[in-house]
Structure formats: structure tokens, C-alpha cells
Symmetry: C2
Subunit: 225 residues, 2 copies
């Protein structure tokens, strides 16, 4: 299905919103996209025409099977490009989103297949979000708090709940980033500090406040870096 850049942006946004609510409504989508309810209403008609949307006027809407399939293709492209920008070009993981927003609309399937191969078929992007595979299935990865990770079991840092500059500085200091392999060696009851081991780094001890904000996958199948 040929989609305009604009249609792709709407589809992706609806996908994101409908993960959180049963029915998506016009205003929330307008808010999310920084546009007007009128524009959304116009686009919904188009997407319904293309049979990508379950949509009753004055009611609410959701992507149908076909719509979800399209959304996952776009999200796959977006996240693969983010991996490229961070792991190959060395860009900061918090600065790649805007560029990936543009790259995601380049839609050659061959390009995306080869990019995926080249990147080693990664399963999560630099923000810790899962990358749908070619067929559109999303790897379901259980995210748990680092504080809940069993001792000496390998985890992969999947997300950080506090993304302030101060927190980023701390994580940088310890060389902890999304995708880092991490293992808990010891926990101190006194203040919740954890002694952890990051791959290719000497063991270090992080405070309870830091640890609380780190989430990991307990899955070994994730590509690490």
C-alpha cells in the first residue's frame, strides 16, 4: 500500500495512542500531532477509505489489522534507523529521534532488509523499545526493575525512567546506556545501593536512587553492545 508521509505519521501516532486507550479520539490525536481536530477529522476519512481504520463518526477509532501492519512497518524502519544512528554513527541516543522521523519514510523493503542484516538484526532500539520483525511481530520482552533482577543474572538495560540531564550524567559516568549488559553482584540493605558489573567495565556501585530508575530485560536473546 502506497502511503504519503503524512498518512504514515498519522498511522504511527494512532498506533501509539491505541496501545494506551481502548478508543482513540480526535482531540487526543490532534494534541499528540500538534495539529487541529479538523485536520485529524479530514485524515481519518482518508484512512477509512483506505480501509486501515475502524472508525465511526462522533465515536472514536482504532487501526484495524491492515492498519496495524502498516504501523509496524513504519515503526520497524524508525527503530532500525535509530540503532544505525547510535551504534554506527555514534550519535547520542536522545538526539536521534528527529532524524529517524525523516528516514523512516524511505520505504524500500530491500533497503530495510539489508539495514537490518547489517545491524545484526537488533531486537531493541536505543530507547529500549522493541523492533518489530519483517513479518510484523513485536518481540515481547518482559521489562523488570534492575532492583528486581536476580543476583548474577544477566540483564540488558532497556529503559531509564528518569531522563533528566543529571541522571544522564550519572549513567554516562558509569558507562551505562540502553543496551548495556548488566549484572547485579551485591545489594546493600542500608541504602539500597547495588554493586553491578557492566560488560567490559570493572564492577562499580550505584546508589539506590539511580538503581530505581533503571529497567532491564531478563532475556538473553537481546543483542548487546
Amino acid at each position: 500500500m502506497k502511503l504519503s508521509e503524512s498518512e504514515e505519521n498519522y498511522i504511527k501516532s494512532i498506533y501509539t495512542l491505541q496501545a494506551k486507550t481502548e478508543k482513540v479520539n480526535t482531540n487526543s490525536l490532534a494534541d499528540y500531532l500538534n495539529t487541529t481536530a479538523a485536520s485529524v477529522s479530514d485524515m481519518l476519512k482518508k484512512l477509512k477509505m483506505k480501509r486501515l481504520l475502524e472508525y465511526k463518526r462522533y465515536y472514536g477509532f482504532r487501526l484495524n489489522e491492515a492498519g496495524i501492519k502498516e504501523a509496524l512497518k513504519i515503526i520497524r524502519r524508525h527503530r532500525l534507523w535509530e540503532v544505525f544512528l547510535v551504534s554506527k554513527l555514534g550519535m547520542e541516543w536522545d538526539k536521534v529521534h528527529a532524524i529517524a522521523e525523516e528516514l523512516e519514510h524511505v520505504s524500500s523493503p530491500d533497503l530495510i532488509r539489508k539495514l537490518d542484516q547489517y545491524l545484526g538484526q537488533p531486537k531493541i532500539d536505543p530507547h529500549g523499545d522493541p523492533i518489530p520483525d519483517e513479518k510484523g511481530s513485536v518481540p515481547e520482552l518482559k521489562q523488570i526493575a534492575l532492583t528486581d533482577l536476580s543476583f548474577k543474572k544477566n540483564g540488558v538495560v532497556s529503559s531509564v525512567s528518569n531522563q533528566t540531564n543529571e541522571m544522564m550524567k550519572m549513567l554516562n559516568h558509569y558507562s551505562i546506556g540502553i543496551g548495556s549488559q548488566i549484572k547485579v553482584l551485591k545489594a546493600f540493605e542500608f541504602d539500597g545501593s547495588l554493586q553491578v558489573k557492566i560488560s567490559r567495565q570493572p564492577a562499580c556501585t550505584i546508589s539506590g536512587q539511580v538503581a530505581q530508575n533503571i529497567f532491564v530485560y531478563d532475556d538473553k536473546k537481546i543483542g548487546t553492545r
Copy 2:
């Protein structure tokens, strides 16, 4: 200067055409872009408004300094992406143009700077065309026929004048591609055959007909592969 995708395509095309003729005219640009003279005429007005064009109605036109600068930025992006697609993703060099046409419109300067670094600051693209640098200066590389390359002097294959499928098969057979380092060891007067050495390949002998279609740079500063 913010330019639409369409404006960028026009600018790039005008740049290409004005390298060949003194004044570019409406019809030839329309032909080149597979569009109508009316559309071209419309766009010319816009580009003149943006002060990228020297343009007198009913006369002819050319990019001015500012226009050329924009064109070189676009061409730089295009050619860097082509290098990426071929040398990193392993795509065929005759199939990357269409994809690069899309990627070239992603305009983050930081992205392009890092991509350039990542690719090792290449000087030519997979078609043998020079890649403008960040400041917009185009490496001037003298292209000579392989048959004119001095004995035992290194050349870099820059272009192939006959791009038929049959020729491609021959070049593939000998592992000769754009960017290949090549050296002439011996020339046979009988039929113009040349014994040549391609880097990391045993020496081989190519016919005069093949040799005639191969062009090289006699410059050592080109990155090879």
C-alpha cells in the same frame, strides 16, 4: 535555507544540466524531470524569488552562487548515501540511485557529517562521480582511459562507458568495479589486450574491447575498496 523536496529536485537537475550547456532552457529541464514546461516555469519563479537562480523570462536560466551551493549540498548527500548503500549494505551499485534519491532529502548537517566520517570521507561515489566536501568544493579528478594509464601506476576505476548487462558480467567476472584499484602490467599490441592487476586479485588479462570502456583516476588520494 529551507527547501522542499520538489525544490531540491529541481535545483539538482538544473545543476546537472548547466554543467553541459551555457543556458538551461525550460523544455530541456521539463524533459529531464519528466514533467511539463508549465510546471518548470512555475518552479523557476519560486527559485528566482528565493534568489537561487539567474533567470530572465523567455531567455534561459542558471543557478547563481547560492543555488550552486544548495545543489552541492544535495549532491553530497546523495552520493554519500550511495557509498553507504554499496559499501556497507552491499547493494548493487546500479540499483542504489532510486533509494539515494529519497535519502538525499534528509537534511540534518550533523547526520551527513557523521555519515561522511563513518564512510571514511570518500571522494567518489559508486558510479565514479566526485563527492563535494562539506564546504562545497568538488574534488577535481582527472579521468583518463585505462588504455592511457602508464605502466605500473596505480589507478582507481572511475567509470565505465558501456553499462550493458554483458559488460557488467565481464567486469564482475574480473572483480572490477568502480573504486577498484587497478594497475596495468603489460599491453599487447596484437589486439590491445591489457594484463592488469586488481588489488587482492591475481593478475589477469582483459580484451581491448573491455579496456576501452574503463576509465580511471590517476590520483592516489581516492579511497579504495
